[in-house]
């Protein structure tokens, strides 16, 4: 079998772009993939356009070789654009391998290490009361683990003392609403630079028993995250901003996290993720994949979660209810907080090209938050 083309698509879901691709072959088997929607998404399309000649005419089953060759040839650190592009191609190659063998992808990754895949649900609200309401609604749907932001709107322009107090109020409201049993996680979203502030925030929320605190500080210098792990008692999770196995080896070598959160859309794809999970497993660190983007991302993450021994829990945002659900043929829906394992060959999810083409790309950005003095904050 030979690769004949890589086609890319951008579709706007009302909030942001979704980046999709298809790898086609001369035997009629087509694989689908989703690179991360990073912001300057045309950059991913341009990268794939530039490097697709390295893939066309090659055997799609040589996944490690094709991606290693591309990485080696690019020479410089890839960054989020190229890592996302190669991740998307990786997905499509695994999809083709699964379809060619007639089995779901997880069966090519060592087989199912579990029977179903547990998820936690994101909860949202501008006020503590709204958060509690949202959590109760999700709890009624069968979810027993949740993740929320510690911040209300406009937090970066408010006094730090207020931010810390308000974070505790949000957690208190949700904990009271859902009761003692469910697991609660908090996503600081890499908005803090200073370890001392992150520590103060974590300690204010700790009484409400946290499953983990995600990205409590900027991820660029992983030693700062490691420092928080040493200096606090709450499990520390990080990883969505780390690409490739080497960054995770650095993180493990300094005991930098209790839980890693690689994203299959930008960390290098499934073949890189298997390596990343192995590195974590050797240090008895578990994996809670980052999965905010969409349905194909969820499907890929379920395949990974099925195949690894050190999986903890998967992020989920009911994307089957969102406008982007129309971009795929069949949304996967969890039952009672778990996904069943898929049975269709390959990834088991196809793109709806008509819907994708009917929602063309639009300019988007994440907004530009600021501090009270006008200096840029982190999003």
């Amino acid at each position: 079998m030979k690769i004949t083309d890589i086609r890319t698509y951008l579709a706007h879901d009302g909030t942001r772009n979704n980046v999709f691709l298809q790898v086609t072959t001369d035997e009629g088997v087509t694989g689908v993939g989703e690179p991360y929607s990073i912001g300057p998404d045309e950059g991913i399309l341009g990268t794939i356009e530039n490097l697709k000649g390295w893939f066309i005419g090659q055997d799609p089953s040589r996944i490690e070789w094709l991606l290693r060759r591309a990485k080696n040839t690019m020479r410089f650190p890839l960054g989020q654009v190229a890592w996302s592009a190669l991740s998307g191609i990786d997905h499509a190659l695994w999809d083709i391998a699964g379809k060619a063998a007639g089995v779901p992808v997880y069966r090519l990754l060592g087989g199912a290490a579990r029977d179903r895949v547990r998820v936690y649900h994101g909860i949202h609200g501008d006020t503590p009361e709204k958060c509690a309401e949202n959590a109760l609604a999700r709890q009624a749907e069968g979810y027993s683990a949740f993740k929320m932001s510690p911040y209300g709107p406009g937090w970066s322009e408010k006094p730090w003392r207020y931010v810390v107090r308000h974070a505790a109020e949000r957690l208190e409201a949700v904990r009271k609403a859902v009761g003692d049993g469910p697991e609660l996680a908090v996503d600081v979203h890499a908005t803090l630079r200073d370890a001392f502030r992150a520590r103060e925030l974590i300690e204010a929320m700790a009484p409400y028993r946290l499953m983990f605190v995600e990205e409590p500080v900027r991820p660029d210098l992983i030693e700062t995250t490691a420092r928080l792990r040493r200096e606090t008692r709450v499990p520390i999770a990080t990883g969505e901003n780390l690409y490739g196995v080497a960054r995770y080896s650095e993180l493990m070598a300094i005991d930098g996290a209790d839980i890693i959160q690689p994203d299959v859309l930008c960390c290098g794809g499934l073949h890189e993720l298997k390596k990343i999970c192995a590195v974590a497993e050797a240090s008895y660190v578990s994996v809670a994949p980052h999965n905010p983007l969409g349905l194909l991302s969820t499907a890929l993450s379920v395949h990974l979660a099925a195949s690894i021994n050190n999986f903890l829990i998967l992020e989920f945002h009911s994307d089957h209810e969102s406008p982007k659900a129309r971009f795929v043929d069949e949304p996967w829906v969890p039952e009672g907080g778990y996904f069943e394992l898929p049975t269709r060959p390959g990834i088991g999810m196809e793109l709806d090209l008509a819907a994708i083409k009917g929602n063309p790309t639009r300019h988007w950005n994440r907004g530009f938050p600021r501090h009270a003095d006008g200096s840029p904050a982190f999003i």
Partner: protein, 380 residues
């Protein structure tokens, strides 16, 4: 598909045993593997039976889960015979999965990253001239591109350490002169030295002959000392054959105790464990040169690993004797320093049961004793 039976088959070969595992399924597909020949090999058979109790009735393609069932179910650190059994069983699951999907195993590992697999062969003789001759013979007759030898003569403990170094230098000088400047020479001190200054002295004394690596220059238990030594080494340090699972390799990597990792696929836990160890190595920019002194089946399994692993360096290869050849359906033959990658489903070779019956297990294998001149026990 369900596992119906897992059996160990032990053959007595010329000087040691060969321990195979064969797993049967209700769909008529069977898979094979090789367990390390640890010495007390009946203990390995006993472990195979023990693990089989947990695994019979289960889907053989759920490799990650079945490995965890066995490993985590054992509770205590498993040790050599149990890890050998688990590794052999695990191989048989990959073989079954490959056959069921009609794919060579390397295609279940992300596909082929290379077209052929470089190999080296061990050479042995105390006398420098004989050692050189033996090396040339291997290169010409077997088609090997690189060699490995113990730098210390078998008699090294009988004289002073300075005598041992002088003899080692004479032997490696003769070897280098015979093979020329471009053939790789690996050195294997075989974990017989346990003092850091001696290991460093040995390495420094041989550096001028440009070795590829020094293997197990110190005892594997002492990872801290191995890390100290590696920082001072004049060339690459290789180790790992006595380590089990990703966990022990994680310790090794954290101690910065090796440039080249040498897990053995027949005792480290199997193929998936090798892949995880290779991932650890890749994340730290280290390479893997699998330890592979056993039979032709072990070699084929290693070749599938090497085919699919980017940070693979070179594979140990030992020419099988006539009994070993008879025990399997096919053996790989090196050419110009490389072996070809099999592309039949599964491993692509099988065990010949008739031959195993013809060469049955006779005894536990003893490696012999090594003693110092004063009668104290040395390492083998």
């Amino acid at each position: 598909m369900k596992i119906t039976r897992i059996e160990a088959l032990v053959a007595g070969i010329e000087h040691r045993n060969q321990v195979f595992v064969r797993t049967h399924t209700d769909e008529g597909i069977h898979g094979v593997g090789e367990a390390y020949n640890v010495g007390p090999d009946l203990a390995t058979v006993s472990w195979v039976d023990y693990f089989a109790e947990q695994l019979v009735g289960r889907d053989p393609t759920r490799i990650e889960q079945l490995w965890a069932l066995a490993y985590q179910g054992a509770r205590f650190p498993i040790g050599s015979s149990g890890m050998a059994a688990l590794s052999g069983i695990e191989h048989s699951l990959w073989d079954i999965t490959g056959k069921a999907l009609d794919l060579p195993v390397y295609k279940l590992l992300g596909g082929r990253v290379r077209d052929r697999v470089p190999v080296y062969h061990g050479v042995h003789a105390d006398d420098p001239g004989l050692l050189a001759e033996h090396a040339l013979e291997k290169i010409e007759a077997i088609g090997i591109g690189a060699v490995k030898t113990n730098p210390l003569a078998t008699t090294w403990r009988q004289g002073t350490w300075n005598d041992a170094i002088r003899t080692a230098r004479a032997r490696i000088a003769a070897l280098r002169a015979a093979v020329g400047p471009d053939v790789d020479i690996g050195l294997d001190a075989h974990a017989a030295v346990w003092e850091l200054p001696k290991a460093l002295d040995l390495a420094d004394s041989l550096a001028e002959y440009s070795p590829m690596f020094m293997e197990e220059p110190l005892r594997m238990e002492n990872r801290h000392a191995m890390g100290e030594l590696r920082k001072k080494m004049p060339f690459a340090l290789a180790t790992g054959e006595c380590l089990y699972t990703k966990f022990e390799f994680e310790d090794l990597v954290r101690a910065q105790a090796a440039d080249i990792l040498q897990p053995d696929i027949c005792i480290c836990g199997g193929m998936m464990e090798m892949r995880k160890i290779a991932a650890l190595a890749e994340g730290h920019d280290l390479v893997v040169a699998p330890h592979n002194p056993l039979g032709p089946l072990a070699t084929v399994i290693n070749v599938h690993f090497a085919a699919a692993t980017s940070n693979f360096l070179i594979l140990e290869y030992r020419e099988p004797d006539s009994i070993e050849r008879a025990l399997v359906t096919e053996t790989l033959k090196p050419k110009d320093g490389y072996v070809a990658i099999p592309d039949r489903p599964g491993w692509g070779i099988d065990i010949v049961e008739q031959a195993v019956k013809k060469h049955p297990y006779k005894n536990a294998w003893h490696r012999g004793d090594r003693v110092y001149p004063d009668g104290a026990v040395a390492f083998i």
